[in-house]
Amino acid sequence: MFKNIEELIEDSKNYSSVTELMIAIEMEQTGRNREQIWEMMEHNLETMLDSVKKGLVGKKSLTGLTGGDAKLMDDYIQSGKALSGDIILGAARDAVAVNEVNAQMGLICATPTAGSAGCLPGVLTSAIKTLGLTHEQQVEFLFVAGAFGLAIANNATISGAEGGCQAEVGSASAMASAALVLAAGGSAEQAGYAIAIVLQNMLGLICDPVAGLVEIPCVHRNAMGASQAMISADMALAGVKTVIPVDEVVNTMYNVGRSLPAAFRETAEGGLAQTTTGRKIMEELFG
């Protein structure tokens, strides 16, 4: 198993693709065969695509705090007026859709967590449209995202309670960006740069859920994560590199997360959760 992203990039050169490296490791770690592993990932893919569809209907969450934004964005995109373009706003819309389903106690695939579950499907649905990904390439997209996500998770954290939102939406966005680079025909090195660009831009992002719920601002943060993933992938594919190597950026995300005060790590004791309105909502819901 690769220890970090640099090793992942190097190890992948001994295989036909990052996907094949990841499947080989998974077989070794779990004793499952290739078909079982592939089928499990297909099931995850199916769940993700279904959750996007469900989210576009515009249902409210249990608390009524979120729901309906994906539908608004969808109508707006259909009107042809989207300033940031259908592709990027479409990714953001689908990310919002998944997190709205999550808040409704709907079925989602955590990638890497439930709170950040929108970024990857949002980027994937956009990639399906722009790159015309086949079913097989869509499954590969998830293996690639999972491989880079593992390298991030093992060197930093993917938990908001440990590292703030940069660890959740930041990691989700970074791994989606890396998968997009490879799906577009870029190199593993470029995928590494895409991750570095995403995480550099996410450093310090706090986890401050209103009333402790995975709703505000989580739903909108996933829109940001999906769009950031697309811009960073494009930058990396254009040949943009980061001066700070990707593994150093990942470590920095961890260090920044550890030094965040507890108020900014999923406790609802800081940030938006402690605004006048945030406190009022908490009071109304939980007394």
């Binding site: 106690m105 955590a110 990638t111 967590t113 593992l150 998770a153 939980f286």
Partner: protein, 223 residues
């Protein structure tokens, strides 16, 4: 690289689950399901005690609902999960919720479930440690450790001499090493519970063989 925290691609892409929170919803459902497996039948009464973060935010996360769903035998991806309290009511399970928001617990996400049927009572404490991963830390007042990811047998049997020897001899015949073992019981001479952590997840045949042991009521395996 055995010391890596995450070893499987499905730790990152997955689990497939009912939202909104991997720790407060999916983890809770897994705790409930373990309680059901160990209890072996649907309780008539279920007391749910919630601590710390579970006590403060359970309503918005559906932690209470997910715990009930687990006790009904549902997995984290069961679309009936949000309807669990209604389904429990229809199946005749009486539930009481007891949040302890001011009380300290061993972990921020702690739930203690008390299951009752007739004169049987069982207490289980579970903690949700993040990303849907859980541990069971207490059973009938005994400290135990069952974690998702660690292959563990929970064997329910009659409290008579020789049961431990029979179970362990089945394991040894299959060259399966016992890493840790706990035994507890409801009362002397009644039902007893054996918890065995083993080194391998490949136990299909072993389970079938164990089930043939006389006076053994149930074999549960968690991996």
């Amino acid at each position: 690289m055995d010391n890596l925290r995450y070893k499987s691609v499905f730790d990152i892409i997955g689990p497939v689950m009912i939202g909104p929170s991997s720790s407060h919803t999916a983890g809770a459902a897994r705790i409930g399901k373990i309680v059901r497996s160990i209890f072996g039948e649907l309780p008539e009464k279920l007391e749910i005690h919630l601590y710390e973060s579970f006590a403060k935010t359970y309503r918005g996360h559906g932690t209470d609902v997910a715990l009930v769903a687990g006790v009904l035998g549902m997995d984290t991806d069961d679309e009936r999960l949000p309807m669990a309290p209604q389904l429990a009511f229809e199946q005749g399970m009486e539930i009481s919720y007891v949040p302890h928001p001011e009380e300290k617990a061993e972990h921020p996400n702690t739930a203690r479930l008390i299951a009752k049927k007739g004169d049987r009572t069982m207490t289980v404490t579970g903690i949700s440690i993040g990303g849907g991963m859980i541990q069971v830390t207490e059973l009938n007042g005994f400290d135990i450790a069952i974690s998702a990811g660690v292959p563990t047998f929970v064997v329910i049997h009659e409290d008579v001499p020789g049961m431990i020897a029979r179970v362990s001899s089945v394991l040894s015949e299959h060259q399966i090493n016992i890493a840790q073992m706990n035994v507890t019981r409801e009362a002397k001479g009644e039902k007893a519970i054996m918890i065995l952590e083993v080194d391998t997840p490949n136990v299909k045949e072993v389970i079938e063989e164990m089930k043939l042991i006389p006076r053994l009521h149930a074999v549960n395996f968690f991996n």
